[in-house]
């Protein structure tokens, strides 16, 4: 058996785990590990400019590929800088392993230089965290970390590694465990057959059914099963912001996404339904609006891998705990075998009603002869990229416009911070995707507020040649904050206005990239085409859009799902 130091065992474990990229930033407590990285070339390290960005890069990679991302940072500030990124991944159940240096075990608790209790600090925002206490445990701990991160309901796992655990002069026998067994962690592998049968009977008897799918379908790689089941049943389907792409958005059975800024028809269909089939979603407050007014006539079936998601905010009638792909597959075969069919007349009447709702609003917005609307920028880029780009966003109005007007037909292409709502997520997430998808178009829709939260990564993009396209929907204000202030605070724009914006064109150029400004409507299409033609260049596209635009529909606060503002003046 080979004898390796703790640091070499760590890197070898990553190799054996099949990890290709590690995103990180070196520092004192991680130097043994960085030296081990230097002496091999299988695992590639991407040096970011701020640790938060390393986590978002790993996150973007994980969301696009379904595989866990890996981060390596030092102790203290290196570790604490990852917290926002870890919390982002935690809220959206993204698999990830964050390796943190720590001061030597002999110094822990003495307030040593760059010491932070990372196990304690990260505890509320991780699926689990592990601390290395003996160097020989490293291979097992790494195996466990990836296993926990990527199975069941996925999530981030932090591994805290005191410096003396990786010391180069002590060597240990290395072998990477093939299997990991944890007596206290056994995620469900299939759903309860009786519950699935009961659910299928309810589906067959429904008169106004709707399928409500979430990010769990994408994480559980169950888009194909969901699509097949939905088409087989002929039911309308809506999905959450996190579920975008789990069912083709351009399909006629798709109602768009639901919730606070969801479509009129999706929210109306939910409210008036008699049966909701919830697949891998969690009845989040941005979906349900006031829980006591939620879908009064609906019985609910809920499929989820996490038992704690069931009846957490909304009581459900038929819970099914299990992996969504396995459960949907079983449902599908029962539906196929079933002699009963959903009642055709009832379903036809339901579709007629839904089509009326669709025609009533249908995601309209007012265009203007000279001002560029943010919605039309998104629509144009959707067309110019054939709806096939990887799209990341930051957080705010631009995020909602992008989700509304870029139609995703495939999963894993819509990448956004849905749960935590982290500004600064978009650019590093796009970088993580571009690195492993060099031939795909990767767009980062952002705003002049969000982009400045991780703009230093333009430097990383130069170093690793990551030609993402940054689409800055510049409305010279923190648009979503301003929208809420317009609607709820009599337009008192407290701190929502950004004075002294930088010249983004010069800034992009200073980092060695291309900057393009678009402020005239007639320039929009030709210039965007030019931008997309610059395949091997990072282009920062600074687009001056309507400063007064609001995102609609918008649910009325504390109302039911059907209570919405459809424009600045129409409320239903």
């Amino acid at each position: 058996m080979e004898l390796l130091s703790g640091a070499d065992m760590l890197i070898r474990s990553l190799q054996d785990e099949g990890i290709e990229h590690v995103y990180g930033y070196p520092g004192g407590a991680a130097l043994h590990i960085y030296d081990a990285l230097f002496r091999q070339d299988k695992v590639k390290h991407i040096l970011v400019r701020h640790e938060q960005a390393a986590v978002h890069m790993a996150d973007g990679y994980a969301r696009a590929t379904g595989k866990p991302g890996t981060v390596l940072v030092t102790s203290g500030p290196g570790a604490t800088n990852t917290i926002t990124g870890i919390a982002t991944a935690f809220m959206d159940s993204i698999p990830m392993v964050v390796l943190c240096g720590q001061v030597a075990s002999t110094l822990i608790g003495e307030d040593a230089f760059q010491e932070t209790d990372m196990i304690g600090v990260s505890r509320p925002v991780v699926k689990h965290n592990l601390s290395v206490r003996h160097p020989e445990e490293i291979p097992e701990i790494i195996r466990k970390a990836y296993y926990i991160a990527s199975t069941g309901r996925p999530g981030p796992v932090v591994v805290d590694i005191p410096k003396d655990m990786t010391a180069p002069n002590e060597r240990f026998e290395y072998s990477y465990p093939k299997k990991v067994k944890l007596r206290s962690y056994n995620p469900a592998v299939r759903g309860h057959a009786g519950q699935i049968k009961k659910a299928v009977d309810m589906l067959m008897a429904a008169k106004r059914p709707v399928i409500y799918a979430g990010g769990g379908v994408i994480l559980g790689k169950a888009s194909d099963q969901l699509t097949e089941l939905t088409r087989k049943l002929g039911f309308p389907i809506t999905n959450t912001l996190m579920g975008i792409g789990c069912y083709p958005a351009t399909d006629k059975q798709h109602l768009g996404w639901l919730g606070m800024h969801g479509t009129y028809e999706a929210n109306m269909a939910m409210h008036h339904s008699d049966l909701i089939l919830c697949v891998g979603a969690r009845f989040d407050d941005r979906v349900t609006n006031a829980t006591e007014k939620f879908c009064p006539g609906a019985r609910i079936i809920h499929i989820d891998i996490d038992p704690a998601s069931i009846s957490k905010t909304i009581d459900v009638d038929v819970p099914i705990v299990g992996p969504v792909d396995a459960v949907l597959k079983e449902m599908l075969s029962l539906v196929k075998e079933s002699k009963e069919k959903p009642e055709a007349d009832a379903l036809a009447a339901w579709w007629k009603q839904i089509d009326e709702w669709r025609a009533f609003h249908g995601m309209r917005y007012e265009t203007s002869p000279d001002v560029i609307k943010p919605q039309e920028v998104v629509e144009m880029l959707w067309k110019l990229t054939n709806g096939d780009a990887f799209v990341t966003t930051d957080v705010g109005q631009h995020q909602m416009f992008t989700a509304q007007y870029y139609k995703f037909d495939k999963p894993n292409r819509w990448i956004n911070s849905g749960g935590l709502g982290t500004m600064g997520f978009g650019l590093p997430a796009a970088m993580g995707i571009k690195l492993t998808h060099p031939d795909d178009e990767v767009l980062c829709f952002t705003g002049e507020g969000s982009i400045q939260m991780n703009i230093q990564e333009l430097s990383t993009c130069k170093q690793y040649d990551l030609p993402v396209k940054i689409i800055n929907l510049n409305n010279q204000a923190l648009g979503m904050v301003k929208q809420w202030q317009d609607m709820n605070y009599e337009s008192r724009h407290s701190q929502s206005y950004m004075e002294s914006l930088p010249d983004f064109i010069k800034l992009a150029e200073a980092y060695g990239h291309v900057g393009v400004r678009i402020d005239r409507k007639e320039d929009l299409e030709p210039k965007l085409k030019e931008v997309l033609a610059m395949k091997d260049k990072l282009v920062f596209v600074d687009i001056y859009v309507d400063r007064f635009e609001h995102v609609y529909p918008m649910q009325v606060a504390r109302g039911s799902m059907k209570d919405m503002w459809l424009s600045k003046t129409e409320r239903v």
């Binding site: 944890l182 206290s184 704690a308």
Partner: protein, 163 residues
């Protein structure tokens, strides 16, 4: 409603703080908490008393179960069970008080485990309401110090919480 949740936990550093952290993160309430290793030194047994609606209690048990280090748990209050808490009380005991306290201790089936010329230290075990009853009986004016262990519990009959 008051509940007693009994948890088998991996006996590892940090496991307890995860349980305690969960309660504060999710705005649940801990009334008492006891924890000690079991006959299997790799496992700790933890008993927590809490209160909340059925919905909250369901979430507490599910969220606890999600913690990687929680091996098994049971809500003891769902079935017949025995609960015990131990208390040590230091009481002012001078003159005629001494006989009166001794009598009360006997009624509650406690023991005086330490004596000075002016102080009795009383040990008492039972369910929490019995301990409350004793404190009420002797009156708070005479109490110098109270220390309670918190509740431990076990199911009645053949039901066991084990691996």
């Amino acid at each position: 409603m008051r509940r007693i949740i009994s948890v088998l936990l991996e006996n590892e550093p940090g496991a307890l703080s995860r349980v305690v952290g969960l309660f504060s993160q999710r705005n649940y309430n801990i009334e008492t908490l006891t924890v000690a290793p079991t006959e299997d030194p790799t496992l700790s047994r933890l008993t927590v008393t809490t209160s909340g609606s059925d919905k909250v209690i369901e979430q507490i048990t599910k969220q606890l179960n999600k913690l990687i280090e929680v091996v098994k748990l049971v809500d003891l209050t769902e079935g017949a069970h025995i609960e015990r808490e131990m208390m040590l009380v230091k009481l002012k005991a001078t003159g005629s008080q001494r006989a009166e306290i001794k009598r009360t201790v006997d009624i509650f089936r406690g023991q005086i485990v330490d004596v000075t010329s002016s102080v009795y230290t009383v040990q008492l075990a039972g369910d929490s309401s019995k301990l409350d009853g004793f404190i009420q009986a002797v009156g708070t004016s005479g109490i110098l110090e109270v220390v309670r262990t918190g509740v431990s519990g076990i199911a009645r009959g053949e039901k066991v919480l084990s691996l």
